[in-house]
Symmetry: C2
Subunit: 368 residues, 2 copies
Amino acid sequence: MYNNYFMPTRIISGSGCIGAFAAELMPFGKTAMLVTGAASAKKNGSLDDITAALKKNGQNFFIYDKVKSNPTVPCVYDGGAAAKRGGADFIIAAGGGSPMDAAKVMALLACRDIPESELFSGNYGNRALPVIAVPTTAGTGSEVTQYAIITNDNAETKTIIATPLIFPKIAFLDEKYLTGLSHDTMINTVIDALSHAIEGMLSVRAGVVSDTLASSAAKIIISSCGDLEKGSLTKEQYAGLLYASTLAGMVISNTGTTVVHAMGYSLTYYKDISHGRANGLLLGRYIEYVRDKAPALCARVCAAAGLKDEKELKIKLASLLGKPEQLTDAEISHYSEKAAVTANVKNGIIPISQSGIETIFRDSMTQT
Amino acid sequence: MYNNYFMPTRIISGSGCIGAFAAELMPFGKTAMLVTGAASAKKNGSLDDITAALKKNGQNFFIYDKVKSNPTVPCVYDGGAAAKRGGADFIIAAGGGSPMDAAKVMALLACRDIPESELFSGNYGNRALPVIAVPTTAGTGSEVTQYAIITNDNAETKTIIATPLIFPKIAFLDEKYLTGLSHDTMINTVIDALSHAIEGMLSVRAGVVSDTLASSAAKIIISSCGDLEKGSLTKEQYAGLLYASTLAGMVISNTGTTVVHAMGYSLTYYKDISHGRANGLLLGRYIEYVRDKAPALCARVCAAAGLKDEKELKIKLASLLGKPEQLTDAEISHYSEKAAVTANVKNGIIPISQSGIETIFRDSMTQT
């Protein structure tokens, strides 16, 4: 009945945008900590563009490049301490979801001593260092969300930290950072964005604005699936897919995600399946579940995504992802039990029980 | 090449949303000034809902209900002084564009002594009282923009005050406030929103996000035109049109408007034609001008708006608006000269000269 939309990040896009809009970084202070993974931001040119912009502005910076995929609690504390030690006034994160999510938590930890036992408590005070986000994959949408997903070894899953304090101040979208991504990474991250768009339309928190953005994101992705699979994306398609992932990020910043993400976290935590692939492997069967329970909703979502029907989605996903990894019965049971108690499950328009989740796991992960 | 998107207003929607989300008003302070026109906010129930929410919160308020259509410089200074005198911590505006725009400028003037000679200077300091916006028409989009349009008697036109300081903090969208609007007001305001969506797609500042929002807004409006004309809108259609006007406001907050608005200001200033009607009378001929100069752009915009072609738009507008007011040759010449030098003109993808503007005025305003 009621709906709530909020997304205060400035989005600046276009090839070369960091250099062209370097002045936008000036208000954030004298010293930036740049957060990246070990290599990709150096290879794809984003780190060079950021450092050139800061030098042009006369701003100081230092680099924290120790973020690995699926960042951990020790990593974000280490980075938070580095930010304090270096006197960072703001943080610029370049990379996929991992550096951006890690940087957001570092931005909180630089301003507040949060015991590790309270990191997922939701009590984050009223201040974080400003974060500037430079996505270099077309998947996470973290550049426009208030979320950071951190590997939580105590709970053996990935856990969301959510606070408006960590909405990036600016997202710089430059598609040229994507062109060197591996074929698999490009596919997996784009499928993550597609999952955000579709899950967003199936969320109890969906509304007119989020549905509008989700439809646009999904249509861009669906129309590029063929070239994505062939590895023949044009510059314009890279730009389109980067925008699609940002649009889909705007969606989930308002709708959250559903059971698909909750299920995917176990595939990533226990089986080391990349986040986007994990969601994609489950999404096709999930949309069939929605079709069985609410055919009109399924048809509306498919049409909004530019799909003839849910079968087309399943075929496209299977074609992009290839053969799924296998799970044992014990794994399916364990992961289903974990997924069933998440907040994501309650977030879906269509209720689903633990046995429904088991069915989706089984049908998705044991195909030959 | 580059694009910039920013819209930090929280949008809360649904019938009864002010009461349900009254707590959202708490952080803004002890005392609110409520800004309305003389009568409509009392009649449509919005003032009652706002005062009930504030009473529930234990917040104080006082009412400034002297805003007339097309608010003037003396009005905003009077209201700014009232806000200071009453110790307002924040402002809640309920109404169409006039109370919302006036309230935004009052919010600036309550925090800073700006001489009248500098009101349109762009120099507004770094603070304004927080503004909460409650639109009660489906047209202006002011609830999600950084603009206030004020009648500027020195320049004999309406002039824009634009600063991110006056983005409303929250927009409350409740369609029940619209149901008592007169047939003409409903048509005129909806056409203003349609003009925002279409002009936004024809702006040099258009981008993926704004085009996505504009397409959604225009499609909602186009699909409701028949019932809008018949005066047989359902509750769902009122809600849809209110959302469409907000989506279109999000568009122009990023794209600005084009020559259509620049031309319309003279029709309002000199001929007292309502703002939305003024734009609508000109929009049909303007889209033909775009078709002649850039047929592919015109076709793309029409398709995005859910229109077969530009002829369909012109027919729909003519049917909704009826016979246009007449202008003399001297008036056309005078208004064209004024419009030709505005920033709005440079904002259009398709360049237009003063004589092009004269042609649009002549063809639009002298039909029989």
